[in-house]
Symmetry: C2
Subunit: 189 residues, 2 copies
Amino acid sequence: MKRQKIPSLGYALLGLLQKPSSGYDLRKVFSSTTMRTYSDSPGAIYPALRRLEQAGLIRGVIEEGSGLRRRQVFRLTSKGISELKKWITRPVTREDLVWGQQEIMLRFAFCETAVGSTAAVELLQSLETALQAYVAALHEELQQIKSAMPASARLAFECGIRGNQCFLEWTHHALATYEKEGKRKGVTS
Amino acid sequence: MKRQKIPSLGYALLGLLQKPSSGYDLRKVFSSTTMRTYSDSPGAIYPALRRLEQAGLIRGVIEEGSGLRRRQVFRLTSKGISELKKWITRPVTREDLVWGQQEIMLRFAFCETAVGSTAAVELLQSLETALQAYVAALHEELQQIKSAMPASARLAFECGIRGNQCFLEWTHHALATYEKEGKRKGVTS
DNA sequence: TATGACATGTAATCTGTTACATGATTAG
DNA sequence: CTAATCATGTAACAGATTACATGTCATA
């Protein structure tokens, strides 16, 4: 009955388990794709899977099929699906931005298959709002402290601002993409 | 005699301790500036300081001055300074990029005061090389998998590419800044 | 004198890392 | 047959989070 918070890795696993997979499959995803930011070590993944299973979010079934190496395939439960949706659709906060784009982008990447493209647009809009405020705040912070900083520190700060500005422009690009798609599909609706 | 690897927080503390500070001062930096990505909790910072002290990288002295609240001010030792320099000046690897810009930018921000502007330029050049290769690799990865992805996943991937491209452009901006400064100071040398 | 900010710390718990261990199956 | 790969795990440890504990000093 403990209300444990699910760490980022847990949500990454939930998202990937939209397609039923074994622990080994998931490790391969982490070691071979852009998701290598997450550890592919068995000491991280197998315990994480067991925690998710104990929380009732996924269920593992040992395959007794053809090849017959013991291989446990995990699937989302309905509780797991709703937890995943909740994580994806909650509004983007300032804190989310401070902790990094990584997790926000993971949420967005899973959004379409898990919740649908309407939710994807909403997530983008929420992100846009948060980013606009954040970029403005960063500009202000720079004004206040730039005189007392060495050049490298000021440049590093500018890098952060540029990065977030670029991120903001991407949200516009992404929103435009969805708008176009919407027109293609549903002008007459 | 343990050769423990210093975690990111440890280096952040070493960099900040170029200016002698108490644990409380450091916590305030983490809670109030752009460095709020690091935890400002006492349970993280005081133990980290003690580890650095045990490793001989910093030394704390209890102030017996005027105000007389007990307040321990930490300073870098010569060993700490050289460890900080080593961290800052080592070449930027692919792995550094995968784990995030954060730590690279921290190294750069501390670079000028800790090692000097020549080292800052070298760090930027190393970063530029690594980024060019990384962006190229990301483009290739996108080509290989984009057909099998939902729109949101593809857009998320594009976001990563754009971010790194933006980062690359920033390195050019930063290098140009140093070039200009170099001319102002040393044309006749 | 009581409240709140200053300043430092500890203990329980959780998660992740590193490194090792185990066994089944397939390729050479 | 033996080496590599598939597939799963465990144990020891390090580090972070959370929540609590302690005491000092200023001020209202």
